[in-house]
Symmetry: D2
Subunit: 137 residues, 4 copies
């Protein structure tokens, strides 16, 4: 299973007046990590939009546990992997680590979404192409 790994240096502007990361920022980083994971699989987002008539993979469900807060200056690592494939959706798991410790864990459910060939403004879920899945094994 392909596992992405990105390091993230926590910026002053990521943190709130309590001095810890403002939690919506974690989701920004998880989203970026999902995009990176596809890039690592040879599927940059722009190329997918073009080659698969795809409109994106919007998140339809999100579950996050925040275990340890982080502060400006901390260096963390986010490990990301697709832990389940369904017909037209998939689950991405992100594990944010401070050293060995799990600090935040998130799971996004995303839907493979394509443009209707006739009415290109209409979007709908569609089966995930087999060759896309094959790249994550």
């Amino acid at each position: 299973m392909l596992v992405g790994r990105r390091s993230w240096k926590i910026e002053w502007g990521d943190c709130d007046p309590a001095g810890i990361v403002h939690f919506p920022r974690y989701l920004f980083f998880f989203d970026s990590c999902t995009v990176s994971l596809f890039e690592q699989a040879g599927l940059p987002k722009r190329q997918m939009l073009r080659d698969y008539n795809m409109a994106g993979c919007p998140v339809v469900d999100l579950r996050v546990r925040f275990l340890i807060p982080s502060q400006y200056g901390d260096e963390v690592v986010i490990e990301s992997a697709i832990r389940e494939w369904r017909r037209s959706s998939f689950e991405v798991q992100h594990r944010l680590l401070r050293g060995e410790a799990l600090a935040v864990e998130g799971v996004e459910t995303r839907v493979w979404t394509v443009r209707d060939p006739v009415d290109t403004e209409r979007l709908k879920g569609a089966p995930i192409p087999e060759d896309v899945r094959a790249r994550f094994v």
Copy 2:
């Protein structure tokens, strides 16, 4: 039960290249709505930090369902309420509505966190004061 209600006009900068709200922005708004809900209960955050030796109410668990995307220019309403109180934590439910339709639903579990009276850098969960709870009935 006290229910907060805020309207939100979706800005150009809230949206991503797919033209829809970038999902971490919803969490920014949910966080703001929680703060507003406490204000509406007569508990502005700055006053709570001062009066209760409190350090904040960090989110420890988050579940969100994204049902309908929104775009620049949309006007939505977010209804927020505390749907469950536990000893030192509580659950805030946010319902983002487009007209009558539920577009996003989120539940935050937050912990009432205070500063250790001796070592003020040390934070820990603590029982929610009775007079705080009483304001949300």
Copy 3:
């Protein structure tokens, strides 16, 4: 001269560990105020994109003076107006007020940008339509 006016309640998440608004957030709000000013002139952004073959009005130059910091909970007002029109660019002035006091002042220079009718991926500056300007008098 048309003057836009929006109030902004400063959120917890707009502020940094020093407890004041993280300055890039002001620019987010100025951008939103420019969009609103056009809406107030009867020109919502989506309609302009459609009716004028327009791709946007990117900022090419920005000058901001930060005079008084603001904190979570402050309620401020932003007054916005186009103070100069040139052939294909214009200057938007934003004045962020705390009560009577000017707290932040910004000027954006923006370029009216259209899509090349043949190669729609190519963007270029173009003369501002006369009927657009006329709406701001």
Copy 4:
């Protein structure tokens, strides 16, 4: 003269519906680069807050020129340097490069701000310590 250099991969969520970086995001990155420049000089922000009775270096003036837009997936480099020191303020110049081309240039004027020793809530500009300046030569 000490020159900081950070690379930045432009994320999907940094971009707006026009597909280009939403300009306030550049300011977020410039702010992060200023913090990094001080770190590189041996002055992490947390240490400065502690050792110099310092409250921060708020931006009081900002000028930015946006020359070339960037998109999701672009890899850019930001070079940062303090190009002028005054008694209690200094100017940080940021040059965002796409390959060899200058894409965005920004200059921040920042004020060295300390806490009043008696009333620690009161902040005021103060002369920049000589040993701070000396680290940037």
